[in-house]
Subunit: 228 residues, 2 copies
Amino acid sequence: MMAQSANEPLTRSVEDYLKGIYRLSSTGLPVSTSDIAELLGLSAPSVSGMIRRLSDQALVEHVPYRGVLLTAAGRRVAIRMLRRHRLIEAYLVGFLDYTWDTVHDEAERLEHAVSEVLIERMAVALGNPRFDPHGDPIPDSDGRIDELVYTPLAEIPGGETVEIRRVATSQAERLRYLETSGLIPGTRVTVTRHQPFRGPITVSAGGREQVIGHELALQLLCVRSEAR
Amino acid sequence: MMAQSANEPLTRSVEDYLKGIYRLSSTGLPVSTSDIAELLGLSAPSVSGMIRRLSDQALVEHVPYRGVLLTAAGRRVAIRMLRRHRLIEAYLVGFLDYTWDTVHDEAERLEHAVSEVLIERMAVALGNPRFDPHGDPIPDSDGRIDELVYTPLAEIPGGETVEIRRVATSQAERLRYLETSGLIPGTRVTVTRHQPFRGPITVSAGGREQVIGHELALQLLCVRSEAR
DNA sequence: CAAAAAATTTAGGCTCGACTAATTTTAGCC
DNA sequence: GGCTAAAATTAGTCGAGCCTAAATTTTTTG
């Protein structure tokens, strides 16, 4: 139950766990061991073990059999990792010819290795961007992050026109598909038709019609767009 | 005694050991356990243990109580790390406002995290440089490295004029001192006087006279420069 | 509401890579 | 050539972070 008084360096694993728990915390409810295990591709006992260590370092609050919540310190770390990851993605795309489908893995390793100084240099080089290439918000250096509320394309009623703002997948294949379909952040699309029972939806974007599976349409986050 | 058939990923530690052993191999003689321990700041038994593991993976050749030599595979890894380290240094200095005294530590961590793709992108962005900011040669992507033979400034006789080509230290303090003294790769200096018994030497560079300690003068690697 | 199923934790084991203490080998010296 | 000092290795320990198998707790359900 001791706080992590000094800034002992955190291991790569600890950083990954905290980032993962943060991502699973969107509902505000405690995060289950099995969800963490699933997300990180580890066994449940491994996660139980790490939760104990995280709890010892006051990075999470754990109620046995009930789940974990990040402490303020844990959340700080998680958000710092998010900032790093997203800035690295933006930098690689902006300056080193990466495409949005290839940056994820590279950022996943670099985020543990870059210094605070380097991250801030990258941010400056990019002009302190607020979003990464997938439309994910980049926390500022004080850890503030504006999680805008978007509506999945799958839930937009027929007839409406929306703008895609964020693409919530890191799977390279899907991203490549979306790229070639022109369904990227900034694109305005009009929902033409919904097939029933979570079937595919038809949209028109940039003059052409496209059919998108329901699952994918859940990952295209949109805002009702004003006429422009 | 099995070769490392597939490319199992190497750990950070293994990469650091191989790089260290490479650096200690300049004479061609087997490298001693204690020299490795000293360089990496580890205990001798720790090094003995790692040597066994490296030897199992056919990355070094070990004769007990006699020392280690890199195998071809081990040397390939070491040179790849050198390429990474030096390209990262060059990139950070060239594109992200790092100075030559601050770049070492950052590169030390990044070299283990960057992918082959990223390294080659950096190389292209830099125009495939042959030297890093300290004048250290950057191996090409096939592992070829031209180790030019330089003469330490400490061994240049009085009266001669030479050009500094390489600065063989990574200590930030020394680098900052050299920077402010203008003693950087590319500078032409004339040796004015040698104090006896490894005393300081006096040089004139860019119009002004400077006194340099013997130890530091050993780290300034020069070529007899043609008049230009 | 009790039994089965699912989730979680505990128990015990493994590898990596570090350590200290003890032992063995080599090297230097009279 | 034998003795000592230095170098290297072996022995034994430890924490991190993973695993599987077994035990425990919670949840679901007939």
